[in-house]
Symmetry: C2
Subunit: 334 residues, 2 copies
C-alpha cells in the first residue's frame, strides 16, 4: 500500500510543492490510521515553504496541522475508534497526505453537526480561539469583547465562542461589504477605519489582536481597566499580496516592547499566543483534542473559504499568500 503526500523539499515558490508516493504505515499500538479526505492549509505552511518558520523540521518534511477523513485502521489498545468512523485530527506536521497514522490522543470524532470539509477547517482555528478565549483571557458573561480579525478563520470561531459565553462582541473588518457577515454572527461590526475614527469605541475587557506590529499600542488604549489583549499574529506585515521577508521583518520591528512600569498606569494585561507551538507540548495535545467536544455543544461552525484538489496545492498556497484568509483553504484527496 502506498499513499500520496506533499513534502517541502526545497525552499521557494509555491510551484516547488509536488505530490509524491510513499509507503503507508500501519498503525502501531495506540495509533490510528486515517484515510484523509481534506487537509487544512495554514499561513505557517507558507512561511515554512519559504524557509522562515523557526519550528519547522529539517527538509524534506510534510507540512500540515490538520485533517479530516475516515478511520482506515486502529492499532492495539485503541478502543475509542473503529474503521470507518468520521474523524478530525490535529497532526503537527504531516497533514498534507492522503493517509496519516497518528496517536489516538490527536484524533476526535467529527462533530455531529459538521461535514468533513468543515471538520478539516476546525483544529488549528478552534485550538487558537480556545487557547486565546478560554485558557488565556478567560472570557466570561458580560465581557465587552473586540475581535480584530472578525472574518478570519480564528475570528469567526472566536465571535461564536464569545457570544456563547455571554459576551457583548464587536468585530472589525478591512472591507465594509463584510460587515453584514459579522452582524450575522451576532456581533456589532465596524471597519478598521470606522473603529480608529471613533474614540467612543473603548472599554474592552478582551481584545483579540491578529495584526500585531504598530496596531498593538493604539488598540491597547481601548482596553477597559483590568482588560487584556491576546496577540495571535503579526498579519500587519502580510496583508497586501506583497508579503516578503522585508515586510514581515518590518512588522516585527514595529511590534512593541511593553514597559511593565507603564502597565501599572494602564491597569491591563497582554498575552501573545503561538498556538502551533503549544501543540509541541504533549500534555496539551489530548487536552485540546478533548475540548473539541465544545464545538458540537456550542454549535460552532468554522468558515471554509476554498477547496483545492491536493494536486493543486501550489494554487492553494498562492491564494492564501496573496489574498489573505477569507475562510479556511483546504486540500481535497480523492
Amino acid at each position: 500500500m502506498t499513499h500520496q503526500q506533499i513534502a517541502i523539499e526545497t525552499f521557494g515558490a509555491a510551484s516547488t510543492l509536488r505530490l509524491r508516493d510513499q509507503p503507508a504505515r500501519p498503525p502501531g499500538p495506540g495509533e490510528v490510521a486515517i484515510d484523509v479526505k481534506y487537509s487544512g492549509v495554514n499561513f505557517a505552511d507558507i512561511q515554512m515553504r519559504l524557509g522562515f518558520y523557526p519550528d519547522a523540521p529539517k527538509r524534506p518534511f510534510v507540512p500540515g496541522y490538520e485533517v479530516s477523513g475516515h478511520v482506515a485502521a486502529v492499532g492495539a489498545g485503541v478502543t475509542g475508534f473503529r474503521a470507518g468512523d468520521a474523524v478530525v485530527a490535529g497532526t503537527y506536521f504531516g497533514g498534507y497526505a492522503s493517509q496519516v497514522t497518528i496517536d489516538a490522543a490527536q484524533v476526535f470524532p467529527l462533530p455531529r453537526h459538521l461535514d468533513l470539509e468543515s471538520g478539516a477547517a476546525l483544529p488549528v482555528n478552534y485550538f487558537t480561539a480556545r487557547l486565546a478565549l478560554h485558557e488565556m483571557a478567560r472570557v466570561r458573561a458580560g465581557d465587552k469583547v473586540l475581535i480584530e480579525c472578525a472574518t478570519g478563520g480564528v475570528g469567526v470561531l472566536a465571535i461564536q465562542m464569545a457570544r456563547a459565553l455571554g459576551a457583548e462582541v464587536t468585530g472589525l473588518t478591512t472591507s465594509a461589504h463584510k460587515k453584514p457577515f459579522i452582524e450575522g454572527l451576532g456581533a456589532r461590526a465596524f471597519t478598521v477605519e470606522e473603529f480608529k475614527a471613533d474614540p467612543a469605541l473603548t472599554g474592552y475587557d478582551f481584545i483579540l489582536n491578529a495584526s500585531g506590529g504598530a496596531e498593538i499600542k493604539p488598540q491597547r488604549a481601548r482596553l477597559a481597566i483590568t482588560g487584556r489583549m491576546v496577540c495571535i499574529g503579526i498579519s500587519s506585515g502580510l496583508k497586501d499580496g506583497k508579503r516578503s521577508f522585508w515586510r514581515i521583518g518590518l512588522a516585527a520591528l514595529r511590534t512593541p516592547r511593553i514597559s511593565v512600569l507603564k502597565l501599572f498606569d494602564q491597569n491591563s494585561g497582554i498575552y501573545a499566543l503561538n498556538a502551533l507551538r503549544v501543540l509541541q507540548d504533549p500534555t496539551w495535545v489530548p487536552r485540546l483534542t478533548q475540548s473539541l467536544g465544545e464545538v458540537a455543544e456550542l454549535d460552532l461552525r468554522p468558515h471554509v473559504g476554498k477547496v483545492f484538489a491536493a494536486s493543486e496545492a501550489a494554487a492553494a498556497h498562492e491564494l492564501l499568500q496573496t489574498k489573505g484568509a477569507t475562510g479556511k483553504v483546504l486540500l481535497a484527496w480523492s
Copy 2:
C-alpha cells in the same frame, strides 16, 4: 462640632505628621458621615509624605484610603445605613481623620465575622487581591497559583481567595519561620531561596508578583503555557529599612520591558495593577465596594499587624517604612 485629622502639609520625615482640628462636615444628599475608629496605613501614604507619589493631591491634604467605624449620620436619600451601623469604607484620601463624610457608594456594612480592627485592614488589601485574582487573572478551580508576598496584607487574602476558588496554592516568604503561618492558610510554603533553587517548582497558571524589578523575569519563566503574572508593586526596592528615592528608582530601572515578540515564544501573559489608581474611576468604586460581600461568604480574614494611637501616626509610618509590612498597620481614634 470639630473632628481631628492628620494632614500632609510639608514633605519630609514622619515627624511632620501632626493632628489638627477641623470643622466636621454634615453629610449632604447621598452621603454618610462616619465616626472613625480605625484608619488603615498604606505604603503609598509614606510615598506621598516623602513627596514622590504621582497621584497625590496638592498640599495640604489628608492621606488615607480606608476606615472602619460607626455611622454618625446619613444624608438625604441614603436608605442603606442608619446611625450606629458598624461599617468599613474606602476613602481615596481623607482617611486619616476621626470623622469622614463620603458618598454612600463607598461604604459597606462591616462583614459579620470581622471586628472593626480587621475591617479597617480590609479595603485596600482586599480590593487589590480581588482586582488581581478575580478581574485580571480570573483564577479558577484547578489552577496552580504562586503567591510571592504570602505573608503580606494582600498575599494573606489572596491565598484565602485562591483556595476558596479551588486553586492549588504555593506561598513564598523571605523568612523560614513564617512558613507554618502560610501552611496554616492551606498553602504549600517555601522560602524565596528554596524556590529559586528548585527548578521543579514551575508550571504556575497564575503568579502574584509583589517584588517587581529584576524578580519579574525569572518568575515568568515558571509560568505554565497560557499562564499569567499580575505585578502589584516593586517592593524589591523597599525592603531593607533603607528605602530611598535611589533604591526605588533602581528597582524601577530593573523592572523589565517585555517584548511582545518574545511573549509569542512563551505563550503567557503579564498584567500590572495599581489598585489605588483603579479607585480614581467612579464606576469601579461602587463595584469594588459591593464585592466586599464576598469577604463574609468566603470567610476571608485580613491580617492586622499593629495598632497605633492616631497621635502616634509618625511611629506608625516609621514602622511600615523601616520594617516592611508584616500585617496591616492601623491608626486608632479614641
